[in-house]
């Protein structure tokens, strides 16, 4: 997948600084307390601080669990990964599990190179994450 593949987040409006890194939250699970969070677009210096802000606001919604879907994120730099580490630390405090799904090969490689792939619970799909 090219780093510049925009097939998925191209429809509609152009991707610029103003596109929300978090497209939306859906509540799943029998109790509707599992937050399925969909991220979108390249997470780089343009958008990583917004990404972090939006991520760190998630615990305020009091989810029982968070599933972060990265299938529409073609590219992520180290600051994006760092934001996820921050979120993970905050959620661990409250014993809220975090699962990452839909990592494209390029995004997965950033986790591998920074050796952070082992500290995250990474699942293939949202479906798999919800069933586990």
């Amino acid at each position: 997948m090219p780093a510049t593949d925009k097939t998925n987040h191209r429809k509609g409006q152009p991707v610029t600084d103003t596109t929300n890194p978090i497209r939306g939250i859906e509540w799943a699970g029998e109790d509707h307390r599992v937050a399925v969070v969909e991220a979108q677009g390249d997470i780089d210096l343009r958008r990583s601080s917004r990404f972090q802000e939006e991520l760190l606001a998630l615990p305020d919604e009091h989810p029982r669990e968070i599933v972060l879907d990265l299938s529409n994120v073609p590219y992520m730099d180290s600051s994006g990964v760092a934001s996820l580490v921050k979120l993970l630390a905050r959620l661990r405090r409250d014993k809220v599990p975090l699962k990452l799904t839909g990592l494209r090969p390029r995004v997965r490689s950033v986790f591998e190179i920074t050796r952070l792939d082992t500290i995250f619970d990474i699942r293939a799909t949202v479906k798999e994450a919800l069933e586990s």
Binding site: A3, D42, D44, R46, D77, V85, R106, S109, I113, I119
Partner: protein
């Protein structure tokens, strides 16, 4: 203005941008395509794109302190070594604050915490990484990557 001298073969590409994050995707796209034409495989070019993006991010943040209107030059070339090995060579040039090269270092990754991952990525993704001060001001970063993919040129 006299015409610039023709570049030596294999012919390089130079991108001159200002230090705004808005230009990062432009550099990534150009670099991705250059890597493909140069014969890098997909894994290799993903790594190179990531390394250069991290290095540019560092220039914008640390050498230019977040100012968006400062110049950055990115030069891309493929070089044939006498051994026949093909190498991708990338130069990043800025005119910002110089920092002692030994201060540009990655931290211990076993300590899991955010931040300080960029330099690790750069060193991990590229075969050679060297920072040098340009006497006239600013820093030059030279990055190389051996082309192991089925190189057809």
């Amino acid at each position: 203005m006299t015409p610039p001298p023709p570049p030596p073969p294999p012919q390089p590409v130079r991108l001159t941008i200002s230090s705004t994050p808005a230009h990062l995707p432009v550099v990534r796209a150009a670099l991705e395509s250059f890597c493909e034409v140069a014969g890098l495989n997909e894994r290799e070019s993903g790594c190179v794109v990531l390394a250069v993006d991290e290095a540019l991010t560092n220039v914008i943040r640390h050498a230019y302190h977040g100012q968006h209107d400062k110049p950055i030059e990115v030069s891309l070339a493929t070089v044939s070594q006498p051994s026949g090995q093909q190498t991708l060579e990338i130069y990043l040039r800025d005119w910002g604050t110089q920092v002692a090269p030994e201060q540009i270092r990655s931290r211990d990754l076993s300590d899991v915490r955010p931040g300080g991952l960029g330099v690790h990525i750069i060193r991990n993704c590229m075969d050679e990484v060297s920072y040098c001060h340009v006497p006239e001001g600013g820093t030059c970063l030279r990055l190389t990557k051996r082309i192991t993919g089925k190189a057809s040129r």
